[in-house]
């Protein structure tokens, strides 16, 4: 036993915002080992400049945003290639946003509708001024060359 045991002192301090009450900065960050699991073929498709959706062969429901099992009947879906031309179903231009995207503002979000497909696909629209976006506007998919395996590897431009 050492009755004179002592912790070593450090030179790290604490960022203090206020003293009454005491408000300090607390830092916290995470790197996940995230698996796209059954959604993976969609992201692989982006690297090949393909937009993949899901088709339910049991009930015929067709999804623009993929899902492994049908939301209507529960059957397993199969992958199919979506058309790369669609229309703006709705839109907004974000002048503020989550912290992660603040530096990208203003950006325009759209939901894209495709002929013969029952559901929509969320994406970014570029190449238009904020006041030029319109519901029903024909749009075309483009893909980044250096794939990042994120949904933003595809984006839309006006036809």
């Amino acid at each position: 036993m050492n009755r004179n045991a002592k912790l070593p002192e450090t030179e790290e301090g604490t960022i203090l915002f206020n003293t009454d009450p005491i408000v300090i900065r607390h830092h916290y960050e995470i790197d996940y080992i995230h698996s796209y699991a059954q959604d993976s073929p969609f992201f692989a498709g982006l690297a090949k400049k393909k937009l993949l959706g899901s088709k339910c062969e049991a009930c015929g429901h067709i999804y623009a945003t993929p899902r492994g099992h049908c939301m209507e009947c529960g059957a397993a879906t199969r992958w199919f290639e979506l058309p790369q031309r669609g229309r703006v179903h709705t839109f907004t231009t974000c002048h503020f946003g989550s912290e992660a995207f603040l530096k990208e503002t203003p950006f325009t979000l759209i939901l894209v509708e495709f002929d013969g497909v029952d559901t929509l696909f969320m994406s970014r629209l570029i190449g238009v001024e904020p006041d030029e976006a319109r519901i029903g506007m024909p749009v075309r998919a483009r893909f980044v060359r250096n794939c990042k395996f994120r949904p933003t590897d595809v984006y839309f431009v006006p036809e």
Binding site: L109, L120, M122
Partner: protein
């Protein structure tokens, strides 16, 4: 199932930041207020609690409910946490209702809180956006105001809803809040004020959106026997309903309207439903709650509504889901003056009041009271309880927001882009 009553409620003043109080102390204040209002209720008569808070990220503490439970002195009674995004408070109230209705508890405490000031606003928006699909939605520019802005653009396209109608909702709720001492952002506004405030996501300006808040709320529910013993003016919960929809807005179907008793197929021959303009989860919750409470024509049979107006646009969308007007007529419902308080002067931009009057968000709603997520649905229960007890004057210090003769009210709690929604009907016993 047996009858369930609300016998007391308490809330803290909602504020942008309460750095002097952590979540335990905020709940304690609301709890003590509620306990003081039913002097006959001692701690040994409480059978357990249900806890409501949305985000471990905001709290910087997992299992925070356990810390509130011990701070309130409720250990070792049963408790659990309920979580369902923005509807967390409404779901919590219904969980407490289940505990009493089932006979498991005689007296159950529903407590809720959120401390959103612990990060900056844009980090907070990032947390909230993680309550959207993190594979397909969040990375594209996840931002709830953006999602709601896309919805309302579609609502405007389908039905002709206008930004002026939305601004009138902001005028109404902020003006009501001038008389609510618990509200975070009371104000007298004009349409020009709303439209010239900073644009967040077209067409929603910052005054079309609720703010982040620190706050807590408590509701105490009891069986009939306990309510009779403890409270001279209990309020009965006569209807509960809950509905859901797909997490991703993009997955919403375009099918047939779910009809309420006072509607017919003829009303909606060409409408594709719910699309992204309507909430079938809200319609489902209303349908279930109306059936249980025996309501067949809500606008005639309700005396007031406290609904989840996270955005001016979602208040208009929700009028329609609740069947206060037909789908597509939410903007007109505002322009006819229906949801305004009959005796408050809202300024020159307010519509003329017509014959029909059904005050919506007399408290000021989320837009003006604030939205400390886990507390919000319980805040609505507390305000509704005071209305039905006819104790608004006692608790708010003035009678301006009192809905005279109120016998039946509806509260509505809403998560995500409509993923979980609850509707609860309360009635004067």
């Amino acid at each position: 199932m047996r009858p369930v009553y609300m016998i007391s409620g308490g809330i803290t003043k909602f504020a942008k930041a309460h750095p002097d109080k952590d979540f335990r102390l905020m709940v304690k204040e609301a709890f003590d207020y509620a306990m003081d209002d039913v002097p006959g209720l001692s701690r040994d008569l409480i059978d357990g609690s249900v806890c409501s808070y949305f985000s471990d990220h905001f709290t910087r503490q997992l299992k925070a409910g356990a810390m509130v439970q011990d701070y309130l002195g409720l250990c070792p009674m049963p408790s659990r946490r309920i979580e369902g995004g923005g509807a967390t408070g409404g779901l919590c109230l219904q969980a407490a209702w289940e505990a009493v209705a089932s006979g498991r508890m005689e007296v159950c405490i529903a407590f809720g809180f959120e401390t959103m000031s612990r990060v900056n606003t844009w980090k907070g928006n990032e947390f909230i956006a993680h309550a959207s699909d993190t594979n397909f939605d969040y990375p594209v520019g996840g931002f709830y105001t953006g999602y709601y802005a896309m919805m309302v653009h579609r609502h405007m396209h389908e039905f002709g809803t206008t930004v002026e109608q939305m601004a009138r909702v902001a005028i109404k709720n902020h003006r009501n809040a001038l008389f609510n001492p618990y509200a975070q952002s009371p104000a007298g506004l004009s349409i020009a004020d709303v439209r010239s405030s900073p644009m967040v996501s077209t067409p929603l300006t910052i005054l079309d959106c609720c703010q982040m808040s620190d706050g807590a709320a408590v509701a105490i529910l009891a069986s009939e026997a306990a309510a009779e013993r403890l409270c001279n003016r209990p309020v009965r919960i006569t209807g509960v309903g809950c509905g859901t929809d797909a997490m991703r807005m993009a997955d919403r179907p375009h099918g047939r309207v779910i009809l309420l008793p006072h509607e017919s197929e003829e009303d909606y021959r060409d409408l594709k439903y719910p699309g992204v303009h309507s909430f079938r989860g809200g319609r489902t919750a209303a349908k279930l709650a109306y059936r249980m409470a025996g309501i067949t024509n809500p606008v005639e049979e309700l005396d007031f509504v406290e609904l989840h107006d996270a955005y001016t646009s979602s208040e208009i969308q929700t009028y329609e889901d609740l069947g206060l007007c037909r789908y597509g007529k939410g903007g007109l419902f505002v322009d006819q003056g229906c949801p305004f308080m009959p005796d408050i002067d809202y300024g020159s931009d307010a519509p003329a009041r017509g014959e029909r009057c059904l005050p919506v968000n007399p408290s000021g709603g989320l837009l003006a009271c604030g939205h400390p997520v886990g507390a919000t649905g319980l805040m609505q229960a507390v305000f509704a309880f005071w209305q039905l007890q006819d104790t608004v004057g006692k608790h708010m210090g003035n009678e301006t927001l009192r809905v005279r003769g109120a016998k039946r009210g509806l509260i509505h709690s809403h998560a995500g882009t409509g993923t979980y929604i609850t509707v609860t009907i309360l009635e004067r016993a």
